[in-house]
Amino acid sequence: MIGTLDPKIPPGPLAQKWRSHRDHSRLVSPNNRRKFDIIVVGSGLAGGSAAATLGELGYRVKCFCFQDSARRAHSIAAQGGINAAKNYQNDGDSVYRLFHDTIKGGDFRSREANVYRLAEISNNIIDQCVAQGVPFAREYGGLLANRSFGGAQVSRTFYARGQTGQQLLLGCYQALCRQIARDTVRMFPQTEMLDLVIVDGQAKGIITRSLCSGKIDRHAADAVVLATGGYGNVFYLSTNARGCNVTATYRAYKRGALFANPAFTQIHPTCIPVSGEHQSKLTLMSESLRNDGRVWVPKRKEDRDKPPGEIPEQERDYYLERKYPSYGNLAPRDISSRAAKEVCDEGRGVGPGGRGVYLDFADAIKRLGEDTIRERYGNLFEVYEKITGENAYKVPMRIYPAVHYTMGGLWVDYDLMSNVPGLFVIGEANFSDHGANRLGASALMQGLADGYFILPNTLPNYLASQMGKRPSPDFPEFENAENEVRARIERLLTVNGTRSLDSFHRELGVLLWDQCGMSRHEKGLRESLQKIPELREQFWRDVRVLGSDEDFNQSLERAGRVADFLEFAELMCMDALERDESAGAHFREEHQTADGEALRDDEHHAAVFAWEFQGNGQPPKLHREPLRFETVHLTQRSYK
């Protein structure tokens, strides 16, 4: 049985929906707000901004993160910038254009109403961040500066050097610190949410474990907000921080929240390749390098171990320029990533393991001089040298695609509430705005839109009917959830097998990367759906986790996350199999045009796929939310 989901999109013309929705939403009066306890899990851009804003409004907020400080959430690592439709450059930008670029960039797999609201709010975000003291780049006249980014023909990206995420997050963190000092927010660092508690069908609390003392606690609340980030680390290697995980959203899924589009994962084309089997993470190199670097591999695979300087011009294959003459080295993220994989699959990849392509600046240096290149990309060349020990002014850089962002996440309606009443999901953790592919500089925008502006306006819609309904943490629902958490920890510590956590996680990562990464096909996905349960079974038979549950135990902490990845991976593959079309970052080999481009099937698949947990060992149930496009035209992308 396949049900249909209602996103509760407000009526009226697209541009008026958000205003009219706010006009008609329910409110909680200022002196009633302190009667509501709100749990916010996550202190990144989404969670940090939400917790600070809700605290400021007068709610009693508890905010949780697993790092030792709220300021270290993974948002800190974002580099490039944040979009807004200010049109400060007078180059024809507008709210509509930002909306349209985002919908099209997402290959028409997101909701018009949500994306339009995001574009509208983008401008308020910049105002808010400037007021907080975020030191955005400026022009000599003192006005804000912009740069351009992929997927847009206007210059609308605001930035703070290469550290935009850091500065935006510190803005949130400082706002959060102010509320902590005012006692409206209680911060729980190094505290991991391990389960969601549902009472009478509504999300009313969580179970946590202190990563320092091992203490398990129950927290009851009137509503729960998850802002726990993306799940890119399911692939083991990604550009995400080591701690990023799927536990919070996956636990919520197991309690009944729908997981939407889990197969939509973004792979970034320009990262430093894997150098050895012990590599723990991948580092992103800004896409801007492709403005001056030329991508190539040797024509013959016998040449792949030769020093690049000894391979003459006529023996090189500048494959992006060859295949996409009009876009060349600037072909979009998904296309460039797939092309790199293809040449490496043919055995022509360079560097250790044959998984790399050259990004060569020799021509640009000849044309513009080394100084100009240093001025444009000096810091990136330094990072590259630190990691690889190679001087990219002398030898070409080696790059390879890496997992970067996850568009999928828990399903939410227009109010950012999941199908479980009282459970709200914001930031990368939800599925909402990026469809099948996210444009650069729009994740930061979404996280802050959700936290500063949307959630504070939609949460009262739910809370208004919840006065006095907060359950006591002594309720049996809390006790049951706590017992389950304890039993699981106990089980992890008593397997006492022979294999390390990382060995399982790496194996899972390789499997997913091969079969559910840059390109997917039915046979591979079916095989993975066989192999993942086997690997999981092996994990529970043979993993070795040492130490105790009563103190600081990093192995135990990771063990729970890897165990969840081992289940979640199956859901990803199922979704990838079910989505029998290519769309954005989801490339099914069976569905491509004659020249290898992604081929959507709008007739059958212009929908959000949302999965409902049906019990361990049972196949989940699929719900579809049809996507209706009333404003934009669905078109086929082409980059030839």
């Binding site: 200010k86 808010q128 003291g133 804000l144």
Partner: protein, 251 residues
């Protein structure tokens, strides 16, 4: 490459710790320092010994989580950079490497190489912010900020909150950290309204948290992965003196 490691092991804040010897072999020079520790931990696990606790997250020098003293230097020998950006090729084959936590009176040891840096959060909570309610901000370009000031504020704001400055300081002072935040916010016009109260409160909490005094040795600047300039300490001192003066003048 092979290395002899001497690593600080300590069960918790209450029990005394000690340096323990370990050997690691066949390490590729392209391995990062933290990956080398990952490899060691896998070996320990194989032998049934509890892995060494150490903290990290982004592993690219921006989150400020990693915090190790390597051969007596906070973040190790490859400045500027956090220890997660350190690679084994920077060491001699066969070298002996001593690895300890950041040693700062105000940062108790949680376990092995992991420390408690919550005092830094409390310094920011004391006043390291600009009060700006969501929804009340004016149009962004209505606030003009000279590029020079914005750039300088950015230099100060780049602090990653790692605490290496305090670890390198012979007095265990957190002046560079505090100075960076005070400077960032007082260089911007948005930060003016709370300028005096901010610096007074932040310095008061910094002292109360048990950090030592600054005696201008500038060891902090030398190890800072974000290259925060010690000149911001002078700026903090000026801001503090100015705030005291205005306060005593009853403004």
């Amino acid at each position: 490459m092979n290395f002899k490691l001497k690593i600080w092991r300590q069960t918790n804040a209450q029990t005394p710790g000690k340096l323990v010897d370990y050997d690691v072999r066949d390490i590729s020079p392209h391995t990062s320092f933290l990956e080398m520790l990952d490899i060691l931990n896998e070996q320990l696990l194989g032998r049934g010994e509890e892995p060494i606790a150490f903290d990290s997250d982004c592993r690219e020098g921006i989150c400020g989580t990693c915090a190790l003293t390597v051969n007596g230097e906070a973040h190790g020998p490859d400045h500027p950079g956090a220890v997660c950006e350190l690679y084994m090729r920077k060491f001699r084959d066969g070298a002996t490497i001593t690895i300890e936590p950041f040693r700062v009176g105000a940062f108790p040891i949680v376990k092995d190489l992991v420390i408690d840096r919550s005092p830094l959060d409390r310094i920011v909570q004391a006043g390291g912010f600009i009060s700006a309610r969501a929804g009340s901000a004016p149009e962004a370009n209505s606030i003009l900020i000279p590029k020079h000031d914005a750039d300088l504020a950015m230099e100060a704001a780049a602090c990653i909150g790692c605490g290496a400055c305090a670890a390198a300081c012979p007095n265990g002072s957190a002046m560079l950290f505090t100075a960076a935040k005070v400077s960032h916010l007082s260089l911007l016009p948005q930060g003016y309204p709370e300028r005096e109260s901010r610096v007074l409160k932040m310095v008061r909490v910094m002292d109360a948290e048990g950090f030592g005094n600054c005696t201008n040795t500038y060891e902090c600047e030398a190890v800072c992965p974000a290259e925060i300039s010690a000149s911001f300490i002078a700026k903090l001192n000026r801001e503090y003196a100015r705030a005291r003066l205005r306060k005593s003048a009853g403004e």
